[in-house]
Symmetry: C2
Subunit: 340 residues, 2 copies
DNA sequence: AATATCGTCGAAAACGTTTTCGGTGCATAA
DNA sequence: TTATGCACCGAAAACGTTTTCGACGATATT
């Protein structure tokens, strides 16, 4: 049960390897008659071109690399899905790696992908990455990179992001629009760019609507996924900030945390306090009341990121000059029952 | 900025390609002196072996394929992570594809992976797959496959599963142990093997403990993730089955659904009714009360599945005879506040 | 002095493709 | 008749590695 190669077909038909190859690839300088002979036999012998040989000859593998901070995460796994599905549609397969938000892993994994000679790399920077030599090295080797979600201006390449600041602005504005006067913000430490941007959006929405920014009702958690921290903040709000009537939380989980605790403390949502989260996790559909939030379209983002990468791969092959662009994926406010 | 190859190093040093290759691979028939010369120059020129050429020559790519029904899913994304991390540790990369639980996709994607000449395939069968020719074809081509999670006895290969029946038995037994006398079961349609097995486990736990099985308190939802269906079932329970004091649900989501609604109807959990779910989703930590459940160790499962695949890849290369085994990943009951 | 052993190296085949560049043979035009 | 064109085909190089096998000189053995 040995595999069938061009040379076997050639030998079996008494013609040359070159002709067989050209017949299968529909070259114009081989007669219809021999084309048919070749194709028929190839069919019978179940011929499949050897991808290693093709890659070696064509200097491309039709495989791309995807580095993601965290796979088990609603937003990111949606990105993976977007990338994979779009890639599959375009004839590419994708190798996925998880950096755990670590610079060291990111560096190693980029090397692994380069060693495999992937055709391109999709990368979301680790939180503690501050040096970009390792990614500039990719570009210098002639391998296209596109940055998604966590990006930096310091690397010149295609980028795809959501506009955190605008999204946060809109979320906050929604609270203002429905009549909230005293709007708290719950966020993590001001380190990741997303946290900074959402905080900025929150502040600027307040300012544009003549609401004084009050730093005492900006609450900081240790982690963006600390349900317990969120609950403590709810206690704090009930105890010392009775006048708060709106809350914009950095993540749906934090939003859910405060909401659960506030309900336990007999605060009515949304009558007493309106709450809006961020991401549109699966979670938001099953809280009670259902949580308003900002939809963060991971799938779309993955699709677009792959599209840009493919575009660059093709441009690169053509030797075209590439002007890099940053694509913003629009977010959308999902209004449910927790805001009114 | 052209890439450096063995032949460039050879030419530059005035020696043969063969010697360069052997020097870099520490063959014993090249002197220490030339080894050093070669390695030094390779270092300077930043030599990286061309993986296409290596794959072609060695007939292996150090890449495996992973087909998963659904990426955006807590259990499955944990499996991906387990596979990827273990593979990376062992020098392998993994191409992931999502079958959407469709037989047609599964078939196509297997072909894609075979066309790329991956070294092995990890596969969880789609729900509607009933014909196994496409996976037996993998084996016949000499490519190792291991089945995980959704398997079938009709394919002879390594398998890794959790024992759904035993896990369900233990979950139900836990309810019995804490004193429940009338235990309901919530499940989806009896089509997927997991549903069948968990149902069996539920029944056998009742039987072994002299509790009569009562089909009128086995509730069927349209989907395993229908929160609304679960709520309706809660209504039904309060209305017509006041004597139910324990519930074993097929998924954490269904468990959460009934729990939320029961609470709204002033039923106390766990005082009036104890509830246990299945999977140990992230979700279970933030319900109130926190949900008891069965931990379904996806990460571990991924690790083990890759381990078995690697074992077979190596056995195959050695020409060793392979006796296939089915590995059961132990599950564990997580007791929280919803059962007492 | 002849033979065996050892350390070091390189030629060449092999993996399977794609593509360039001629080279046929044959018909048509001069 | 010779030239020109055309349709069809194949030799061979190239992609970059790994590994077998033989060759060579130098040393050790008989």
């Amino acid at each position: 049960m040995s595999t069938t190669t061009l040379s076997k077909i050639a030998k079996s038909l008494g013609i040359s390897i070159a002709t067989v190859s050209k017949a299968l690839n529909d070259y114009s300088d081989v007669s219809e008659k021999t084309k048919k002979k070749v194709k028929d036999l190839a069919e019978i012998l179940n011929y499949k071109p050897n991808s290693y040989a093709q890659s070696l000859r064509n200097q491309e593998s039709k495989i791309i690399g995807l580095i993601i901070p965290e796979i088990v995460h609603h937003f990111f796994s949606n990105i993976i899905l977007g990338v994979i599905k779009e890639a599959e549609k375009q004839g590419y397969l994708v190798i996925t790696l998880q950096s755990d938000d670590s610079y060291e892993n990111e560096k190693k994994q980029i090397q692994l992908l380069m060693d495999k000679n992937v055709d391109g790399i999709l990368l979301s920077l680790a939180d503690n990455t501050v040096n970009y030599n390792h990614v500039n090295a990719i570009k210098e080797s002639g391998v296209p990179v596109v940055l998604y979600d966590k990006i930096t201006k310091l690397i010149d390449c295609h980028k795809v992001v959501i506009n955190d600041q605008k999204a946060a602005y809109n979320a906050t504005k929604h609270l203002i629009d429905i009549g909230c006067k005293k709007i708290a913000h719950i966020r993590g430490t001001l380190k990741p760019q997303t946290t900074i941007d959402r905080f900025k959006g929150y502040k600027s929405a307040l300012e544009t609507h003549q609401i004084k920014f009050d730093n005492s009702i900006v609450f900081e958690t240790n982690s963006l996924s600390s349900f317990e921290d969120a609950k403590k903040i709810a206690d704090e709000i009930v105890l010392n900030h009775k006048d708060i009537d709106g809350i914009f939380a950095m993540t749906d989980l934090l939003a859910t945390g405060v909401m659960v605790r506030l309900k336990e403390l007999k605060i009515n949502i949304p009558e007493d306090i309106s709450i809006i989260g961020f991401s549109n996790w699966f979670l938001t559909e099953i809280t009670s009341p259902r949580l308003s939030t900002v939809d963060q379209p991971g799938f779309k983002m993955g699709q677009v990121a792959f599209g840009l990468l493919l575009e660059e791969i093709n441009d690169y092959k053509k030797g075209a000059v590439i002007t890099y662009k940053t694509t913003e994926i629009p977010t959308e406010i999902i209004i449910r029952e927790s805001t009114k």
